[in-house]
């Protein structure tokens, strides 16, 4: 019995030593990379926003001029999300926010939508999706420029009833072999515009 006990202690101690070693390695790396990673993520986010709203069109610090909105059924969000507000000389230019298309072919499609103050789209980008490679993933700007067509559109251009894919009698191209994905994105963008139209002044409220 004593022999077993000694062994448990010995092996346990060795394990603990390795655990301390492994944890130190990870913690030291984490501490040394933390600031750099935060800065990288900031830059990536800023680049994503600037792809929608030109950085010359606003003069505020868009990453800190944010509004936290609770979950919005129209945007498909299930949690708090940030709205990034672009302003020039204090007057509102555009808002960039997250919108989720819940009905992709393979689950949720997460979008970043930019809307100018007058209700026209600054642009839409897909941030995250699980659509079929080679078919539905053409919504990704890296694979096709389909998503770029939203720039400049609004709820009056085309009229609200034409915010559908061509197959459903609307104005937007579907992809060969994939209708569900573009249908989901078009609907989500339309809903985002409707949400923006209804809540525009709320969205641009100055932070207190």
């Amino acid at each position: 019995m004593d022999e077993v006990k000694t062994k448990i202690w010995k092996v346990g101690l060795m394990l603990a030593l390795f655990a301390i070693g492994a944890t130190s390695l990870v913690s030291l790396t984490e501490a040394n990379t933390r600031d750099k990673i935060i800065e990288n993520e900031r830059q990536t986010l800023l680049a994503a926003i600037n792809a929608l709203v030109d950085s010359n069109d606003y003069d505020n610090d868009i990453l800190t001029d944010t509004l936290l909105i609770p979950r919005v059924r129209q945007l498909g969000t299930s949690d708090f999300t940030d709205v990034y507000r672009a302003r020039k000389g204090g007057s509102p230019v555009a808002a960039v926010f997250t919108s989720i298309a819940p009905n992709g072919y393979n689950g949720k499609i997460k979008l970043l939508v930019g809307v100018y103050y007058d209700g026209t789209l600054a642009g839409v980008r897909v941030i995250n999706h699980k659509e079929t490679p080679g078919l539905g993933d053409k919504i990704n700007v890296k694979k096709s420029d389909w998503i770029l067509q939203f720039k400049g559109l609004s709820l009056t251009n085309p009229s609200e009833s034409l915010w559908k894919v061509k197959k459903d009698g609307g104005d937007f191209d579907q992809f060969t072999g994939a209708t569900i994905t573009p249908r989901a994105v078009v609907t989500a963008v339309k809903k985002s515009l409707q949400y923006f139209e209804k809540n525009r002044d709320e969205l641009f409220k100055e932070a207190k």
């Binding site: 062994k7 060795m14 390795f18 492994a22 390695l25 990870v26 990379t33 990288n40 490679p133 078919l135």
Partner: protein, 228 residues
């Protein structure tokens, strides 16, 4: 020197290839081999982890208590993967945005625990590192081949989106093999991965069998084998 490293190289790349013979690491292998570039990405990340984990396990092999070696391996591998992920995120952010999604998959790759257990735990650091490198290369070769086959059959191209890994200059590296190809979805979906891997394993077995036949035929004219 050659006597030690020769067999390690042959084992990793062909004879005991982790993907074709040991059939280890199927989860990431099948999930991420839908294009050539994805395959290459996961392959590179796996090589890095295998080399580091084999090196570290070998370095501590005399200190690791035999009864608790598996938890220690898991600890070493998990921390290496975390360190690689964090460092990549900090210093190679562009690359991280592409490979980042593959890195957590590596923890699930049992080829890495397998090599720690089967090789690194009983061999010196030098051969262990070479073993990690060769096993990683062997794994990567299969990933890239499977990725290329699936991409070709699935969407008629090879090396699409090479710019994600090699930068804008590589945008025209994409080879459109079949113009106006309508696509064959199954090759891109999981069943295509299983069928593709099966075909590659079969091809390897055919090549091995041919080789064996050749070798068996040559000496049999001079001396009949003693064993039945």
């Amino acid at each position: 020197m050659n006597d030690v490293y020769g067999p390690i190289i042959r084992d990793g790349l062909w004879k005991n290839n982790p993907a074709l013979v040991q059939l280890l690491g199927l989860c990431p292998l099948l999930a991420v081999s839908n294009t050539t570039i994805n395959g290459l990405g996961l392959g590179l990340a796996t090589i890095l982890t295998l080399v580091a984990s084999n090196g570290l396990v070998s370095l501590f092999r005399k200190k690791i208590p035999d009864e608790a070696r598996l938890p220690v391996f898991v600890m070493i591998i998990a921390s290496i993967v975390t360190v690689i992920e964090l460092s990549m995120n900090a210093w190679f952010h562009e690359l991280y945005l592409i490979l980042g999604i593959f890195i957590p998959l590596i923890v699930t790759n049992c080829a890495i625990t397998g090599r720690a257990e089967a090789f690194a735990a009983r061999n010196p650091v030098g051969p262990s590192v070479v073993d990690g490198l060769m096993m990683g290369l062997g794994f990567t070769a299969v990933l890239v081949l499977l990725g290329a086959v699936r991409e070709l059959i699935g969407q008629g191209t090879i090396l699409s989106e090479a710019h994600l890994m090699f930068g804008e200059a590589a945008r025209n590296m994409t080879i459109v093999v079949i113009e106006d190809y309508r696509g064959f979805l199954m090759a891109l979906l999981p069943p295509g991965a299983f069928i593709g891997l099966g075909l590659i394993v079969a091809l390897k077995n055919v090549i091995d069998a041919r080789q064996k036949n050749k070798q068996a035929n040559v000496p049999s004219t001079e001396a009949t084998p003693a064993e039945a």
